[in-house]
Amino acid sequence: MTAQTDDDLVGAFCAGEELAADELIRRHTTSLGRFLYANGASASDVEDLVQEAFFKAFRALGGWRREASFKSWLFKIAANLNRDQFRRRKGRETVPLDDHDVADVSDPEGESGAKDMERQLMTELERLPRLQREVFLLRAQQGMEYDQISATLGTTPGAARVHYHHAVKRLKEKVQ
């Protein structure tokens, strides 16, 4: 199963193999959750947003034209859901990671520094224009190429590159 591409699995699901969906979920749940969290979703909303994104994606697979990768399409749905959620709440609901949310670590001092840096980066990400933030995360966090990013966010690869460099310039100035 793991040797199959996402496209193979999508085809298998459409042909009636329910287990193909399980593998797609296994592959993308964590990265999608991390993207949503870094993109402003509260920790308490992430699971529901991921669930809803998968549900919408699998329900609409029959009409999906496969112009981009499954991952791009899934992230596009999730980003839209996140934006809707944000609009409904009229802004980001900041729910910091509490100690009980964080896994035990053997290096508490190092972990504390990492938490501070993460908070600082999250704060600055929040201040970026939405498209800059999403492009930056899809590239720096998810490792997507510009053509994948443009398919996900409905822009061009050139524009995605420009947004990325603007975001990097701004974040470099702010996050030390």
Partner: protein, 168 residues
């Protein structure tokens, strides 16, 4: 392309573990404050959310299958999903056209209603079958006989077309 630009393009690839620095790139990243800052930034970004409570894909899949069972995937084209709806609509439209023609027929023109009325078999037809019969009449572009010939009065060609229409 400057070395800074080329390093910037490769930073994500290396940070994701999909490649490694060449010796000259590594030396540049160590010496160039701008590239070093970008390298640190991308490294931090790639770890964002890593300390978030883990999501359970198996539970996610279970919930998804339950929800899909309640609201199945929308994978069937609309014209195949409800095969008879379009036929019923078509029959209704044909009936409306027929009624309009009958109502507006000039004096001296044959009365279609009377012609159709003679064929009592039409009462038993489904919407799709009725539409097919009406198509046969329309194809001829002439009204059925006013004095109501039965099926036995049709020519074999007309009868064959009528039966083809009934059989769909």
């Amino acid at each position: 392309m400057t070395l800074c630009e080329s390093v910037s393009d490769r930073i994500v690839q290396v940070a994701q573990g999909l490649g490694s620095w060449t010796a000259s790139e590594a030396a540049h990243v160590a010496a160039c404050p701008e590239c070093a800052a970008e390298w640190r930034l991308v490294g931090m970004a790639s770890e964002l959310g890593a300390r978030m409570p883990a999501l359970d894909p198996a539970r996610m899949a279970d919930r998804l299958h339950r929800r899909l069972a309640e609201a199945p995937p929308d994978v069937v084209p609309i014209f195949r999903r409800r095969p008879m709806r379009w036929a019923v609509g078509l029959a209704a439209a044909a009936a409306a056209v027929l009624a309009l023609r009958t109502a507006t027929a000039p004096v001296g023109q044959p009365n279609l209603e009377a012609g159709v009325g003679v064929l009592s078999e039409l009462d038993e037809l489904s919407g799709q079958e009725l539409a097919s019969v009406l198509e046969v009449f329309d194809a001829d572009d002439k009204p059925p006989a006013v004095d109501g010939p039965g099926l036995g009065d049709l020519t074999s060609d007309e009868l064959e077309r009528l039966l083809r229409g009934w059989e769909g």
